[in-house]
Amino acid sequence: MAELLRYRDDETVDHPAVTVDAFLDQSNASAVRIEPGDDARDLLPHLERVALVEVNFPAFGDGRGYSSARILREAGYDGELRAVGDVLVDQLAYMRRCGFDAFEPDQQLDKGDVQAAFDRWPEVYQPAADDRTPIWTKRHS
């Protein structure tokens, strides 16, 4: 397991994340892990007790986790949203835009490459779960 990349100021949650099923059964769990086939919306009634959501990417080509992340942010979730698993440099910027603020890749990533990935895009075309202003808004403000 590689180093955790975290872009938040609060304390890291130290208890292990449980599955969505276990989370829904256990009223005291505050860390949960979403698999690609899970419905992120199942968590929405319980967001106030969640401090960490891990979204697992067993294979980088399975993009369901991007929707899960946005759905949670759209519902107002502001705890840690951590992408775990097959998380690669070239996915980071998109993940960040979908609301992830922590990354726990299976393989250690090169720090310089990570920084380059986050600095890559001078602008964005469309709104997402980050606070970047899309080009089409800038053009008309």
Binding site: P36, F60, G61, D62, G63, R64, Y66, S67, R70, E74, L88, V89, D90, Q91, A93, Y94, M95, R97, C98, D110, D113, A116, R120, W121, P122, E123, V124, Y125, Q126, P127, A128, P134, I135, W136, T137, K138, R139, H140
Partner: protein
């Protein structure tokens, strides 16, 4: 034509640098081939049988002479002096070296072009009506909506790892010249009774091994909600499209398995939610884009007279020019289907000539048709003879639009690593056969489409006559299909019966045209006759 501002340019430039960096990391071994593959695909780079292929995006098929010149220069500098125009209104180069790719992308960016998302499991380059802005029957020019969707879909963070590729077409007339209902999303801009414009969404069409015609899931999405609705369609697909089987991963399978009604219900629910999220662009952006697509300054008193004394010219005018909304103008089609030629191929010299002619005679605009021809959209009738003369001298004057010679063919086994059979030589033999017998003209409109395997890049399901290359015990074999259409009378072709070898298929095509000639009633196209009399008479003639 749309012009980049500093924002568009900055995005394309960033993409070039990103790709350079990715290629470097691949070389340094920081990226495995499996990790690099989707990254290069999203920049249009495919590994084919003999070399890399680069597919360059031509958004909604529109380009200017400067861009066409740049495409010609790339063909000369990095390829073998030619390019191939595709059924997605793009251009492909077949002999690219991976180490040149970043430089080619940089060359493209200088003329406001790119290869972004021309491959891979993401939203692909958006196609449209090749007569947009010229056709008399359009409600409005569809391209501003395609451009808005281009921006929305470019580097969309949520939809970069979809279950499968995703193709969108936008049209704005009842006549469908873009195979709209055979796309993952087909959008028709329509006008309601109150005179307002909206978008009808058709979702879940496609060709491939399971061809489907998209059902209409919403017949009027207001234009200030267009992007939000598209986002809802995509989100439901990204979450629930199948990922267990590549061949069942297109949205058509999801829509089919859920049923159009249930898919629509889920989209509407997501749409209601997304309306609260502010994903729609300001309406002023659509208005800004529209200003780029205003009519050129057509001459009010352009003459409608055409001197038809030269019969070759007159035939070309009849075949290859199409009515225009402005008096005294036509849209002129440059056929890339010379008899015995490779459908859709053009040499660098031909590209330069077409570019210069567009500048001289068509307000500096060209279009790529999904049928792999080029359009000069706005030509004065008075200029047609000069235009035709120049084209004819360059081998670009074939008078065969929409005829049996105007064949769509995929690259097939000559290039494609997935192919079962060659497509190009079959197309060549068929056009030679009909040119020789002189029947092309009398057969009238006859759309013939050839694919080298079941993936259907050559649209064989949508051909009046379709040909599908299959592998029969290691030998190339060709199935014949009849009765497809990609137009507003959309239908899927049916297989006639056992396949043919590469000579037999040419004879078989001739045989079915003979049945048509015998059976046709006044004014009927091949397709109409087939629909009236059914498959049996054709089968009897073929297999007797």
């Amino acid at each position: 034509m749309y012009k980049y501002d500093q924002y568009d340019q900055a995005m394309v430039d960033a993409r070039v640098e990103e790709f350079r960096d990715q290629a470097r990391r691949r070389l340094e071994g920081k990226l495995t081939e499996a990790q690099f593959t989707p990254l290069r695909l999203k920049n249009g780079l495919y590994l084919q049988l003999h070399a890399y292929m680069l597919r360059v995006a031509i958004p909604y098929g529109t380009l200017d002479s400067r861009q066409m010149h740049a495409l010609a220069d790339i063909a000369d500098r990095y390829d073998r002096g030619y390019g191939h125009f595709t059924t997605r209104q793009n251009i492909q180069y077949n002999w690219i070296k991976l180490e040149d790719a970043a430089d080619i992308l940089a060359d493209l960016s200088k003329v406001e072009m790119h290869a972004i998302q021309t491959s891979g499991n993401c939203i692909r380059n958006i196609s449209s009506d090749h007569f947009a802005g010229a056709a008399a029957d359009e409600v409005v020019d569809p391209r501003p909506y395609a451009e808005l969707l281009r921006q929305w879909s470019s580097f969309h963070p949520e939809f970069n790892y979809l279950p499968r590729k995703f193709k969108i077409a936008v049209i704005a007339s009842d006549t469908d010249r873009a195979a709209m209902r055979l796309h993952d999303i087909g959008i028709q801009i329509v006008q309601n009774d109150a005179g307002e414009l909206g978008a009808a969404f058709y979702v879940g069409g496609g060709m491939g091994r399971t061809p489907m015609i998209a059902p209409c899931i919403n017949d009027f999405v207001p234009l200030d909600r267009l992007v939000t609705y598209a986002e809802a369609c995509l989100r439901v697909y990204n979450r629930y499209g199948r990922r267990d089987n590549k061949y069942k991963a297109r949205i058509k399978i999801l829509v089919h398995e859920l049923g159009a009604e249930e898919y629509t219900r889920q989209v509407e629910e997501e749409f209601a939610h997304l309306l609260e999220q502010g994903v729609e662009p300001p309406f002023a952006e659509l208005e800004r884009i529209r200003t780029f697509f205003e009519d050129p300054l057509f001459e009010a008193d352009a003459s409608s007279d055409i001197d038809r004394s030269d019969p070759d010219f007159a035939l070309w005018v009849d075949r290859n020019t199409v009515a225009h909304k402005a008096d005294g103008y036509v849209s002129a089609v440059i056929s890339l289907k010379p008899v015995g030629g490779i459908p859709g191929d053009a040499t660098a010299e031909q590209m330069r000539l077409m570019a210069d002619l567009a500048k001289d005679y068509s307000f500096d605009e060209l279009r790529v048709m999904h049928t792999q021809n080029i359009v000069l959209p706005h030509v004065r009738k008075a200029d047609l003879h000069a235009l035709w003369t120049a084209l004819d001298e360059a081998g670009l004057g074939a008078p065969n639009l929409d005829t049996v010679e105007d064949i769509i063919a995929c690259p097939g086994l000559d290039y494609c690593s997935l192919a079962n059979a060659r497509s190009i030589p079959v197309a060549q033999r068929i056009s030679e056969r009909f040119a020789k017998t002189g029947k092309t003209e009398t057969l009238g409109q006859l759309k013939l489409k050839i694919s080298g395997c079941i993936n259907a890049c050559g649209h064989h399901h949508a051909g009046h006559i379709g040909i599908l290359g299959v592998d029969r015990k290691g030998v190339e074999n060709y199935q014949l299909l009849l009765g497809g259409s990609e137009a507003e009378d959309v239908s899927l072709a049916k297989i006639t019966g056992p396949g043919f070898d590469e000579h037999g298929i040419v004879d078989a095509v001739e045989t079915v045209t003979t049945v048509y000639e015998r059976e046709r009633e006044d004014g009927e196209r091949f397709l109409d006759t087939y629909r009236r009399i059914g498959m049996n008479p054709f089968k009897e003639a073929l297999y007797g």
